[in-house]
Amino acid sequence: MSKLSRHEAMEKLVAESSTDQLFEKPLGQWRLALRRFRGRKSGMVGLFLIASLILVAVFAPLIAPYDPNEDLIGEQDVRRYQEPCIHLLGCDRDQPQHLMGIDGNVRDYFSRIVYGSRVSLQLGFFTVTLALVVGSAIGAVSGYLGGWFDNIVMRFMDVILGFPALLLAIAIVAVLGPGLRNALIAIAIVTLPGYARVMRAQVLAIKESDYVAASQALGASPMQILVRRVVPNAMTPLVVLATLGIATAILEAAGLSFLGLGAQPPLAEWGSMLADYRNQVFTAPHLVFYPGLAIMITVLGFNLMGDGLRDALDPTLNR
């Protein structure tokens, strides 16, 4: 490399870079995070799994060959608990194709699994949205007000965390009555303290910062400060928590349905489908295998994406 004076080097740099480049806005927090997220293989796998699942859920009527609640008896020569028949894998072409077999009510199991994705995804999203909104509202108010109010609310959160989550959810569903909506509420309640704690911690940290003091000096109301200053800063940990929370919610809801407290028949929900045929595991294992596999893939997708997001949004973790 030839020796250049500092001045010459500077000139060269300016000449080589277009004005656009020089005045380009630095990448924002989210753009940077997106760039980092793309570099994470596991996060991308999670994103791919979830995107595929959402497509399956949206286009369920096009993907599922039958109606999930359609009784095939009399229409086709099939019997209850029939094993999967896949033409590509050597099943007789004269037979109607049933990728995941036939369930105990002579319904096409594949169609039920496909429609089940709608139930689980909606359940996951709604549960977490409820827990996120209520939890962070509680955390924000509690942290902002402080004092005895904060103390009582947070001790109450400790009590909720003092129970094994599934047991408390069972108890709440017992109070509200079995059903998918009540299972959703129960899971939202037991997961709520996590969001409240994170939000409160953020509020406590941000409350003391100079820019909040500046906003106050400019006459901003507490509500404005909370919405404009505190919430955006608390978003990062909450987004990560919520993504991982969807995974937990789907798993716990499946558990409640397995115990007969969640989805009720004939709704095609993976947990209750698994519960329906758990006594057939030795005679018709496919009826147990596929719903569980579907739950696992969905939960895995959200877990991977949550981990990827955490790595991407928290630069301090990047070593």
Binding site: V159, P164, V175, L251, V281, V288
Partner: protein, 359 residues
């Protein structure tokens, strides 16, 4: 140290009281009354009145709460409406199963999870690391009940006539029974006394009981029945422990004192074992403690899948059947265990990290 200990114990008390209170109120909020749940929908009003009176359910709620609080403190947990037996007796019969299940699962989770995490951290960014973490990710995503059923299918049906066959349900094979150690050793216990109850409780831990009495056939049978449920229950905690161990160790290994130790010429094994591992233990211990709650919740599902009559299953039946006394008693015990474990975790911090002790 003593003041630290005292503070932790005192902080646990309000949480425990809160839990008892929440359970009590939740139960009273359940629609329908225990009378119709127990005597059937067509129970007459007189029958219900007699039933409520016999079970103290005719008192105002606040009085019921007072009586209940007093009873909890004196370990009188009342009588199950459904089984017509004291809750204490049900606990003596059912808690040992869940304890053995949870402890076996926890042992598997720690003994497999920690070494896996260490391995992944030592082989950071290699195939071993990626593979282990992929497995751990799959492990945390599996529904316990599904894994349990699949394990049962594989080990009880597919591998039926091989040496790897394992029973899919129950605690012991038909025809076998566990003889409690006090009977085997011919001890004379006073019927109904505290010590006879205590020995009955201990004796109901089948694996432990037949280990100390040397009844190997029953011991081995009990262990075989425990393997599948424990493995199913252990999977999620195992995966979480492996992940935490890995990230904690990676964090510690990048510290300056590790570089110093290496520069001094300490062997790599020694660096990991005595410099890194102990410092990485703190988050691992926390997570192990936290997993206990998950284990107790998971026990409901595992006990359902494997037809085991433990606390988890009994609690579920009691909640859905509105068996007030059983729900209250069991929950207090479960929550109490949970709070005590968290306390022990806090105390182990003080042991592991002198900075906390001296605060």
């Amino acid at each position: 140290m003593l003041s630290y200990l005292m503070r932790r114990v005192l902080l646990a008390i309000p949480v425990l009281i809160g839990i008892v209170l929440v359970v009590f109120l939740l139960l009273r909020a359940i629609p329908g009354d225990p009378c119709t749940a127990m005597l059937g929908e067509r129970a007459t009003e007189e029958a219900c009145e007699r039933f409520n009176e016999a079970n103290g359910l005719d008192e105002p709620v606040i009085v019921q709460l007072g009586i209940y609080m007093k009873n909890v403190v004196t370990f009188d947990l009342g009588e199950s409406v459904r089984f017509s037996r004291p809750v204490n007796q049900l606990l003596i019969e059912r808690l040992p199963l869940t304890t053995e299940l949870a402890l076996t699962a926890l042992a598997i989770a720690v003994l497999v999870g920690v070494p896996l995490g260490v391995l992944a951290a030592r082989r950071h960014n290699t195939f071993v690391d990626t593979g282990t973490m992929a497995l751990a990710n799959i492990g945390v995503s599996m529904p316990v009940f599904w894994l349990g059923l699949m394990l049962a299918y594989v080990f009880a049906l597919v591998l039926k006539d091989t040496p790897f066959a394992l029973p899919p349900s129950g605690r012991l094979s038909a025809g076998l029974s566990s003889v409690p150690y006090y009977e085997a050793w011919g001890w004379q216990l006073t019927e109904g006394s505290f010590w006879s109850k205590f020995h009955e409780y201990i004796g109901n831990h089948y694996i432990f009981n037949n280990l100390i009495t040397g009844n190997w056939e029953v011991f081995w049978d009990a262990v075989k029945h425990m393997i599948l449920p424990a493995v199913a229950l252990a999977t999620i905690p195992l995966s979480i422990i492996a992940r935490i161990t890995r990230s904690a160790l990676l964090e510690v290994m990048s510290k300056d004192y590790i570089r110093t130790a290496r520069a001094k010429g300490v062997s790599e094994w020694s660096v990991v074992r005595s410099h890194a591992f102990r410092n990485a233990l703190l988050p691992v211990v926390t997570i192990v403690g936290l997993q206990l709650g998950a284990l107790l919740g998971g026990a409901v599902l595992t006990e359902t899948v494997f037809n085991l009559g433990g606390v988890g299953r009994a609690l579920f039946d009691a909640i859905t059947g509105r068996d007030y006394a059983v729900v209250q008693g069991f929950t207090v015990v479960v929550a109490g265990v949970y709070v005590i474990v968290n306390l022990l975790v806090d105390l182990s911090y003080a042991y592991l990290d002198p900075r906390i002790r001296l605060e």
